[in-house]
């Protein structure tokens, strides 16, 4: 077990280092002179030579590449991602100020999503092949084909505005948060439901469940004891992997609901190519994702003996 854990940890460290190198490369790789990009991001039309020289010095653009990487990564380790090209404020404090709102949204939508898909998958598996199962399948097909921003617009139009509960949204941050998180979570739950349903059905068809059924155990009991625990672990691993989608899907919902998270901040940075802000966002998101999948895999290794001998994929 220790060996498998160490190997998985090594993999995560390699991924984190590779990601940091790729993220840093964004700057020297970006087409065009960085100074032009900075001036563009600050919307300066006619810069003086002095201004340009000051910028080159301030952002360390005259040093060799390897020095720039070391300086950059040294700063990043200490939480210093440099200054935003657009506003000149430290990148990290700009992101951190908005991060709690995003974490609220992502966290709540994760909880909603897990609860919703767990319930639906259990209903589908309990009455497999009968009408509740077919209904759940049709529902997940439809929602899996609906991107979260389309679902958000439709809900806003036909539920919030159409039913005249638009005032709820102006009622405060709580209502906005719940509606946005519910939409993000319910949209994401479609794929997760399909996954868990397939796992439950697989384990219901295996020997132990058959024996229990032959013994006369009630279907709900067979499901809860012989299928659910076995199907839950691979499902949780899959949830950890798709957390990245939840983090990446948040900005678009934040924009629609004008939720003051990092989404809007990053979108502005993207549209004016404010590279330090984009670098920080990408690196933080990647590290969160690498850490999450590490935790999930470590759990799987500790709980499932078969994983201890498996070669890391």
């Amino acid at each position: 077990m220790g060996r498998a854990l160490v190997m998985r940890l090594g993999q995560a460290v390699l991924a984190a280092f590779g990601a940091s190198l790729l993220v840093w490369l964004m700057l020297p790789l970006a087409p065009g002179d960085p100074v032009d990009m900075i001036l563009n991001a600050q919307r300066v039309e006619e810069p003086t030579d002095q201004h340009i020289a000051a910028l080159r010095d301030r952002f360390g653009l005259d040093r060799p590449l390897w020095q720039r990487y070391l300086v950059w990564i040294g700063g990043v380790v200490q939480g210093d991602f440099g200054l935003s090209w657009r506003t000149g404020e430290p990148v990290l404090s700009g992101l951190m100020r908005r991060l709690p709102a995003t974490l609220q949204l992502v966290g709540l939508s994760f909880v909603i999503s897990v609860a919703w898909s767990l319930g639906l998958a259990l209903v589908a598996a309990r009455w497999a092949g009968r009408w509740p199962d077919r209904l759940v399948l049709a529902y997940t097909r439809l929602l899996a084909a609906t991107p979260s921003f389309v679902l958000a617009l439709l809900v806003l139009q036909f539920v919030v505005v159409g039913m005249g509960i638009g005032l709820v949204l102006s009622g405060g941050a709580g209502a906005t948060l719940i509606i946005a998180a519910a939409i993000l979570g319910i949209d994401r739950a479609a794929g997760w439901t399909q996954l868990l349903r397939a796992g439950l059905l697989e384990h219901l068809a295996r020997g132990p469940a058959d024996v229990a059924k032959a013994r006369g155990a009630r279907p709900g009991r067979v499901l809860a004891i012989y299928a659910l625990p076995a199907a839950l672990l691979p499902w949780m691993t899959a949830l950890g992997i798709s957390l990245g989608g939840l983090i990446g899907g948040a900005p678009i919902l934040e924009m629609i609901f004008t939720w003051p998270g990092i989404g809007e901040h990053v979108l502005t940075a993207l549209s004016v190519r404010d590279v330090p802000v984009i670098q920080a966002f990408v690196l933080i998101a990647v590290l969160a994702y690498v850490a999450a999948s590490l935790v999930v895999d470590a759990m799987a290794i500790m709980l499932d003996p078969r994983m201890r001998h498996a070669r890391p994929a």
Binding site: L14, A30, A145, P147, L154, I252, L270, S271
Partner: protein, 291 residues
Amino acid sequence: MNLRRATLSGPVAPPPRGILAALLHHPSGRWGVVLGAALAAMAVAGPWVVAHPPNVPDYAAALRPPGSGYWLGTDATGRDQLSRLVDGARRSLGGALAVSVAITLIGLIVGTLAALAGRWVDAALMRFVDVIMALPGLIVAFAVIGLLGPGYVNLLIALIAADWAYKARIARACAFDAVRSPAAEVSRQFGVPEWRVVLHHVLPPVFWPLLVLGTLGLGGQIAAISAFSFLGLGVQVPHAEWGAMLADTRFLFTVAPWLLLGPSACILLSVLASNLLGEALRDLATPEGRS
């Protein structure tokens, strides 16, 4: 908006019957073919059929509700909604198709090369693929757009960058076995040149799983193109694209609710069509799925 990574288990091979006939016999594949054909026809033939130019504003006709002349109404600058939907189909569907084809080709080339070259080329390529695969696809797409700037072509490049690594890994796994398969070994013994061995015994078993995965991923690409365009990072004004059209109409909720329906339905139906097609192909291509 998400780039789902589809998975396959077990060997994958073409169905024994003709592929279209097999799809039409498959319960969900049938609907996928019908829907997909209708949407493709709209993208290819549509622009010659519609009555109005998609990008020319006509302020006198702004925000007309659906009716004669403008079947789906007009937007805030009086452009015909139906014409723009049809025009947008080329960018949404064509772009997703281009991304999927590019990803499949890159995966095929990188994976086969790694398996053929072996040793350090294989190791170096696959470690690089490992690092890319450890990054969430959407974040990679954000990063590439941050690097290149917003725009339709840049968006397509970003989506290719986000998703090629997984295909390369699958291709390498399939090619690794195929290069050492008995059929390939026998051919070599008989003096068949290596390029013909690759053409006949390595590429086919690599191609099929990639085709199935490519079709399964098409829906995610369509959703991603519309989502990034909705955010203003993809297709730019004045060009029509379903996600960008939704962005134009999102402040007109109470004034012109009809503008929301067309683009939403188009996105939903095309993602649904490619999901159905992909699932049917997966069923047909894996032995246990054939009945």
